[in-house]
Subunit: 429 residues, 2 copies
């Protein structure tokens, strides 16, 4: 594909091959509204639609209404054929070599009204999130963390290769990239060997990240109506990067027998721009092999469990240079999102537009490709170095984490997520 | 308190001391709208407000707007002082001995418009539920079930007496009383001793109930701003009964290490009428004693952990008489809802109006006061008898469960929940 007349010379995650959707506001207009990102600009879709920008598409009332909302839930609900048509149309409008009458390229007045520098807008949560579910599909992460706690022979539970293990997370504390979070305080068992066991109340000392990919549900399913693996792709609106911040010391004490709770629910950060399923699906690839024969409802093409996706984690102290502490790959997943959806719904659970499904931590098996500090520091025992020579085991106050991810090349084929970033403020008091 | 001029002679959960809030529609008006229940009638609050019924109260615009919504979220957000004022006003309107100008009692035209027989209305979910959290505060249940799996010496995990253990549940599958549910299908490990372990895909054979009390959050808290035990009561809008249906065979296989998932997310039933905090709080009482010294943020008056609340569970096969299979008490709780809220928010997690917090299963320690069939059948091993002589271990297809609960006496002081009922349909195919 040729480039866009909007793209700058700089390499951008938001090439014309991408066209990710988000919710923005800016100084001139505080109303939250849909937009797409292109190069180092955003196109305000509400303004563009109001100016008749979609006229050539003969848009339905439902589509126009969906672009007039403060979240993308209505747009997501319209279904993948509509998303496909709208994305293609916007690509036409933005293409260097477009042949269609182009009200945007040819009108400086309209460009002024609806095309803003990316740096001038504020991103908001793109969807109203109904339920958030987090899976555990990164087998290398599950194995390494399991080994730390139970040894390599018992690292994975017997169910691990038979079903995509997942749990219900907290939707209310999902925040958009750039939101600062306070270090959580909670119950911690400082000395597990002391009898009787007496937890203390303190700020987490083992504050961690989890690098994840997540999908947003577009089309829902009715209660009692499971979605098959084959149907599932029609239910996926698009993808974001996610940082599932985790307080390991709170988690260790609280998580038996019902799973993680306060160790996770103080905040989960997602990237603001939703990369549509059509943009990312070409990069589906073979993930981590699962040799276990699967029940029929979970059978999937092994070439569709991973993504040919570069993933990086940057850590930046308050002052001091940024260090890329991990470079890993979307190939490090053993279950596809379609399998997660099939499993989630097989007992009848309804998914709704705006539901968020996380992959679980994406890690490789080497020192430099881990998705959590728990792995990088070998269970909190071995510090790793930052580029200024300082060390980390877990996060310090005022550390910022920035997760980045992209597929494709460096030019007009690049499909990236931008930033999923957050700073840890001192503990709440 | 004297009775209401509306109450029938029959004993009713919805006496003038109660005034529970719900969302209704009826044949004449399909719009979902707020109402209260009184005796065997409901008062349509939208219609009543539109007719100027609240004029004497000098209602705020926010109050009038909240009565014009399809859920009670806006009303809940107004806060307990407003709920108190509105409930008292409605009690005045309905009281036998009221002195105030009474447009409802004195106008048959208005009564016809806004006062309907309970049997003529349809109840809907009273709140849009953002997040649903389920706790585990019924110590007797936790102990008995833990004993079944790990023996009495290891029944309770070391954290149990230090914090109200809870997990995030699934909000999208919370349904209102009267909604039928299909038996879920899922992965089940029929023979845990076989090597290698091979799950099968089948309909749950160990389908259970969990009798719970739940609270709805009214006032939320900002992210990073914990709510103390003392403040927590201002955040509680009111209470409902809950049946947390559970597929034990699915649960056993799936729940390690992240907690229950498909075993629970196929459906959770709540009673339709929210008993306001002001109506139920007079029945707070001493619950199950906790001898463990608590961290300061969880310290609570031991007289406020339980409720003087009668709870009963009825089982009715498709044909055949109804059997009351359990009679238990709201005293069987070891953590107060205020403690649950304090713990839930202590790390900074935000609660929002409409969030639902379940108590966990409420059981006694005797054969006839259990809140789950797992306990009644001693781990599924000992059938219990129904009144027609038939037996149950877990639920059969077309069994209906009806949970009831009430505080106070039998007349004008009774504060009850009505029904929390549901029928299990054959497995989805």
């Amino acid at each position: 594909m040729a480039g866009s007349w909007v793209e700058s010379g700089k390499k951008s995650d938001f090439s014309i091959s991408n066209i990710p959707f988000g919710i923005i506001s800016n100084d001139k207009n505080h109303l939250h509204r849909p937009a797409i990102a292109i190069g180092d600009h955003v196109l305000d879709l509400q303004g563009f639609a109001a100016a008749g920008g979609f006229a050539e598409l003969k848009p339905s009332d439902a589509l126009l209404s969906s672009l007039n909302q403060v979240t993308l839930n209505d747009f997501a609900t319209l279904g993948r054929p509509v998303h496909r048509t709208v994305r293609k149309y916007i690509q036409e409008v933005l293409a260097e070599d477009t042949n269609m009458p182009n009200v945007l390229r040819d009108s400086s007045v309209l460009r002024e009204k609806v095309l803003f520098p990316l740096s001038s807008v504020k991103n908001h949560l793109p969807m109203a999130i109904g339920d958030y579910t987090d899976f555990f599909a990164g087998r290398h992460h599950a194995f390494t963390v399991g080994s730390l706690f139970r040894g390599p022979d018992n690292a994975l539970q017997p169910n691990y290769h038979h079903l995509p293990v997942g749990y219900h997370g907290r939707a209310s504390s999902v925040v958009v990239s750039g939101t600062a979070l306070h270090r959580p305080r909670g119950q911690i068992l400082a000395d597990p060997t002391a009898k009787p066991q007496r937890p203390t109340f303190e700020a987490s000392k083992r504050l961690d990240i989890e690098l994840e990919l997540a999908c947003f549900v577009g089309k829902g399913n009715a209660m009692g109506k499971p979605v098959s693996v084959k149907e599932a792709s029609e239910h996926i609106f698009g993808y974001v990067l996610m940082n599932d911040w985790s307080a390991r010391d709170i988690q260790t004490w609280e998580y038996v027998p019902l799973g993680p709770f306060n160790a996770k629910n103080f905040g989960t950060t997602i990237s603001p721009w939703i990369v549509l399923a059509d943009a990312l699906n070409p990069y589906m690839t073979t993930g981590i092999a699962n040799e276990t024969p699967l029940l029929e409802y979970l059978q999937e093409d092994p070439g569709r469990t991973g993504f040919e996706l570069s993933l990086e984690v940057d850590l930046a102290p308050l002052s001091g240079p940024t260090t890329t502490i991990s470079r890993t790959s979307g190939r490090n997943l053993m279950w596809s999102f379609a399998q997660m959806i099939a499993h989630h719904t097989v007992g009848g659970c309804p998914l709704r537009a705006g539901d968020l499904l996380g992959s679980g931590t994406i890690s490789g098996l080497n020192d430099d490709d881990r998705g959590s500090l728990l792995e990088m520091s070998k269970g909190g025992k071995t510090p790793f170095k930052l580029s200024d020579g300082s060390e980390r085991v877990f996060l310090k106050d005022n550390d910022s984490i920035n997760i980045r991810g992209w597929a494709g090349g460096e030019g007009a084929s690049r499909v990236g997520f931008g930033h999923c970033s957050g700073t840890i403020l001192p503990a709440i008091s």
